[in-house]
């Protein structure tokens, strides 16, 4: 029996690094300190046992060797005129590096799961920047915490305990009692139920409400109507007073803001609000990133290509124009003629028309698990689980980079090995 302490959890963007794991006979028998979702991810379940292939997507898969599957994957990619390489968020940065190199050589489009998550936040960052801080700043200093369109109780279960609400810090010895927690959401979520103040707004009115807050903050309350997005003006005025009274305020936002009407403009407006609040007191804003290493992909892609996601290598040099070069752009235009989906699940999360197109073209899936993407795949290559069976780097939602330990020996090859072999074969096929 081996006990591994200070292990990291490869589930959500909190990247909790205080996990204790008990290993017996290369099996994880116990996971301590993790949330239920994280523990389930670390323990693992129902893996794909061997590579599988099929030519007819309506037909059954047949098990094949890794060599056969890699050969088929390389042929699909090398023969493609407009390949898409999508996913990445549940893989380590070392995998991202291999993927970007392959995308470069193929002239592919590479995009990650942010495209259906926080990519609108990145667009807003292009416009306004991002006044942020590490989560420990929030833990030590924050006395006002706002969750806007995010529900950490379910999506980031230990966020409030470790960083934002219950956590005690240097300037906040009282933890929860030393903080005012505000939740803005269209639904009274379980997070909202715990808040000191819940602001319920009508769906799609985030932009309006943020604009109203900015107007009130700027001393222009007179122009704000009696109710905005279903929120009474008095409540908004009171909220601005609360925000201004903070010594250190932190705003966390989720997909309620990025994936509702107005999308990136919501974030743009929210960042402006935070910037303006800094004229009064300290404020920071942080996106609640979902997958544990979606932030890592954005970072690796940025330092290697200059852009965080949706990079098109068709011209040999990186080209970036979300709306044109993001995964769903090329799928909805039916431009993509082959796809590799790795460490992300397009089948489950993409619009129906995108998935329909995926069902029509050759698809290579690299993933430890059977998921809806498998249903549209031709070649399925099972791999070791990054962060459990493979060590390497991931970036927490606040950009803090951490090294994941290998907890058990893998029975499958790693994404890195598979990508290296595919790249080698692609080079041979193309005569590079």
């Amino acid at each position: 029996m081996t006990v591994i302490t200070d292990a990291l959890c490869p589930f959500c963007g909190c990247t909790c690094d205080d996990i204790t794991v008990v290993v017996e006979d290369n099996k994880i028998t116990e996971v301590k300190h993790a949330c239920k979702v994280g523990a389930a991810k670390i323990k693992g379940h129902h893996r794909i046992k061997a590579p599988m292939m099929r030519t007819d997507k309506k037909g059954e898969f047949r098990e094949v060797s890794y060599d056969e599957a890699i050969e088929a994957a390389a042929k699909i990619l090398a023969g493609s005129k407009r390949p898409l390489m999508y996913g990445w968020a549940s893989a380590l940065c070392e995998v991202h590096k291999k993927g970007i190199l392959l995308a470069e050589e193929l002239g592919a489009i590479i995009d990650n799961t942010a495209t259906v998550c926080h990519a609108p936040s990145t667009l807003a960052v292009h416009e306004k920047g991002l006044p942020s801080a590490t989560l420990g700043q929030v833990k030590n200093r924050a006395d006002v915490v706002v969750f806007w369109g995010s529900n950490p109780v379910h999506a980031h279960p230990r966020h409030m305990g470790r960083y934002s609400v219950f956590a005690k810090g240097f300037f906040n010895e009282k933890g929860r009692r030393g903080r005012k927690v505000i939740v803005v959401d269209v639904r009274k979520t379980d997070t909202a139920a715990m808040a000191d103040e819940y602001i319920q707004l009508q769906q799609g009115s985030d932009y309006l409400v943020i604009s109203a807050l900015r107007a009130i903050l700027a001393g222009q309350a007179a122009v704000v109507p009696d109710a905005v997005g279903g929120v009474p003006k008095e409540q908004l005025v009171k909220l601005v007073d609360t925000l201004k009274a903070a010594k250190f305020g932190a705003v966390f936002f989720g997909m309620g803001l990025t994936q509702s009407i107005s999308r990136y403009k919501n974030i743009d407006n929210a960042i402006s609000l935070i910037t303006e609040l800094n004229a009064f007191t300290k404020y920071v804003i942080t996106p609640m990133r979902g997958h544990y290493n979606v932030t890592g992909f954005g970072n690796v892609c940025a330092w290697e290509t200059g852009y965080g996601t949706a990079v098109d290598f068709a011209r040999g040099a990186p080209y970036y124009n979300p709306g044109e070069t993001a995964a769903n752009d090329v799928l909805l235009r039916k431009e993509t003629d082959a796809a590799m989906i790795i460490a992300g699940d397009a089948g489950a999360h993409f619009p129906a028309d995108s998935v329909r197109h995926l069902a029509r073209i050759p698809v290579v899936q690299i993933d430890p698990y059977w998921n809806p993407t498998t249903e549209v795949a031709n070649v399925v290559i099972p791999v070791a689980i990054c962060g459990v069976e493979v060590e390497g780097t991931a970036y927490r939602m606040d950009g803090v980079s951490l090294r994941y330990r290998k907890l058990i020996e893998p029975e499958h090859p790693t994404d890195i090995e598979i990508l290296e072999k595919i790249t080698e074969r692609v080079r041979e096929i193309r005569g590079d």
Binding site: E104, L130, W303, G316
Partner: protein
């Protein structure tokens, strides 16, 4: 592998060679006395030969740089080059991708570059990028000036603990030296405040910026670190800040250097030699700084030269970045790091007809031209704060040609006449001065002059050959030729390998990462670690076990040993 460079007009200040035809023998990556007859020969044909360029202050890797990329796709779009059989794609101008960083430095004949600031907690990110920068040797300076342990040990006046913390922090971050940015201000920015001078008390920690600077200089010399304390002064970005800068420089008199170098390096003077009291009476006090340097042996500086056009300001000085963003109505990224420091990123465009920018442009040049000893002023642009490093050849040309300066002065805001001394300065630097400011001086300042920045026996075989013949050119008149030659080296040799020929990349070896392993008595580390463990238990948001940069992130290390030696305090 042997190489012989013949007929070069060599400028090697450390060894007193000023343009003499000198052959250079190379074997196994080092400069040696002689090579066998089978050595490959490069005939320099009377062209200019210098050691590979060494940059002691440039923001090339890490969280701030990557935030710059993420928030500036408009910058990434400039400078795009597709991949080739040999090279990865290049993007960006002020915030290039990792590949462009290495290629562009090498193309200018530079072979060693130091990232100027990393927070320990984010050092893993810095090293991830450094690992991917091709060709050049590199390293990173580690921020200590607002770290809670630093301030605790300064308050306790416990220099042993502070030394142990600095040694441990360098190990944790695989850092090369002690960087101090707006000491105390980083902590105060945690609540949106700042210090206003060397004697302000940092709330909750009960120390002053002065205490922090002096204590860190003391332990830096106790540890005998290769580099001195590297200071970004308080009040940067505020008119009148030259007084704070001078007062900070004077603090160096309190400590004696443990090695043959300065006690304090004060960086990017362009941003802290500001006179006046507001933007209306803003003026250059670079002459006052130069005057100080001319009468002191304890302090070195670098220019932080402003380059007109696009730049991206990025610094651990969080409050100055918020002020910049407000002033410029520009997008603003802030990146405070718990228990350690602040940071911010703001794009800027320097305009010739904006009086402030014109005056700032003059400041760096004034400093370099009015300071007699070029060893005291390194050539930098504080990349990408003053402008991107690819503009060093422009700066070289400006320093070598009064004619070029006067032509340039005609095109910039007239304030440059009244508020700076530049128009009246006719000094022109020579190739030897340039070799000091870009090679020997930066190596000396970093404490690496034994193997870097010179061409003597035992030095690393990092060499640049430029396509100009010093005895046949008048840089004062033919400044365009000088600029063009320095932009595109005829040869860059890195560790004995030709990496650039005629300005084109010919090989992309992996450079080494310099970091300092400083020893302290075990019992000092033990006592210090009690405090550190407490910080992790209660305040950090990650565990101590996951904090330090692992070996996997420094795959080609060059470890420089240092350790506790007695310090003389005068």
């Amino acid at each position: 592998m042997e190489l012989l460079i013949k007929n070069g007009a060599v400028f090697d200040p450390k060894n007193g060679i000023k343009g003499d035809k000198t052959d250079i023998s190379i074997k196994d990556g080092k400069i040696v006395k002689s090579v066998s007859s089978s050595a490959k020969i490069i005939d320099a044909g009377g062209r200019l030969v210098m050691a590979g360029g060494v940059d002691a202050h440039s923001h090339i890797a890490g969280a701030k740089v990557n935030v710059g990329r993420l928030m500036r796709p408009e910058d990434t779009r400039s400078g795009i080059k597709p991949r080739t059989k040999l090279t990865r794609p290049q993007t960006g101008y002020t915030v290039p991708n990792v590949y462009a960083m290495g290629y562009r430095y090498a193309q200018m004949g530079y072979t060693t570059v130091f990232e100027a600031a990393q927070a320990i907690m984010k050092a893993r990110h810095t090293h991830e990028e450094l690992e991917e920068i091709p060709i050049i040797d590199k390293g990173a300076l580690t921020l200590f000036g607002s770290n809670w342990p630093t301030m605790d040990f300064v308050r306790e006046k416990d220099m042993d603990k502070l030394a142990a913390y600095v040694a441990w922090g360098l190990l944790a971050s695989r850092g090369f030296g002690v960087k101090v940015v707006n000491p105390g201000g980083g902590e105060m920015w945690g609540f949106g405040k700042n210090v206003t001078g060397l004697d302000d008390v940092v709330p909750n920690f009960d120390v002053t910026p002065k205490d922090i600077i002096v204590s860190l200089m003391k332990v830096n010399e106790m540890l005998g670190l290769p580099h001195s304390v590297h200071l970004h002064c308080n009040n940067l970005g505020k008119p009148g800040n030259y007084k704070t800068t001078l007062a900070s420089m004077a603090l160096a008199d309190q400590v004696k250097a443990a090695r043959d170098r300065q006690v304090l390096h004060v960086t990017h003077i362009t941003f802290n030699c500001w006179g006046g009291t507001n933007w209306g009476d803003f003026e250059s006090k670079a002459d006052e700084i130069a005057n100080y340097l001319n009468n002191s042996e304890n302090v070195t500086t670098d220019m932080g030269q402003l380059i007109f056009g696009s730049a991206t300001t990025m610094t651990a000085d969080g409050p100055v970045q918020y002020a910049n963003a407000k002033l410029l109505h520009a997008k603003w990224a802030n990146g405070d790091v718990e228990l350690e420091d602040a940071s911010g990123v703001v794009p800027i465009f320097y305009v010739k007809q904006v009086s402030i920018h014109a005056i700032m442009w003059a400041m760096g040049l004034e400093l370099a031209l009015l300071t007699k000893d070029p060893y005291k002023v390194l050539l930098t642009t504080d990349h990408p704060n003053g402008g991107p490093f690819v503009n060093y050849p422009e700066v070289i040309a400006l320093l070598m040609s009064n004619k070029k300066r006067q032509e340039e002065i005609k095109t910039v805001h007239e304030a440059v006449h009244k508020r700076t001394k530049l128009p009246g300065i006719d000094r022109e630097l020579d190739f030897n001065d340039i070799a000091v400011m870009t090679r020997a001086g930066s190596s000396k300042v970093l404490g690496l002059l034994d193997t870097k920045g010179h061409l003597g026996i035992g030095a690393d075989a990092d060499i640049a050959i430029y396509d100009l013949k010093p005895d046949q050119i008048d840089p004062s008149v033919e400044h365009a030729k000088v600029k063009s030659a320095f932009q595109s080296a005829a040869y860059t040799i890195k560790g004995g390998e030709v990496v650039v020929k005629d300005g084109q990349i010919t090989a992309t070896p992996t450079g080494r990462t310099y970091w300092v392993d400083a020893s302290v008595p075990h019992e000092h580390t033990e006592i210090m670690m009690k405090d550190i463990r407490n910080k992790f238990k209660n305040y950090y948001s990650i565990g101590l076990a996951n904090y330090m940069v692992q070996d996997a992130y420094v795959t080609h290390p060059k470890v420089v040993k240092a350790g506790v030696i007695p310090v003389e305090v005068s």
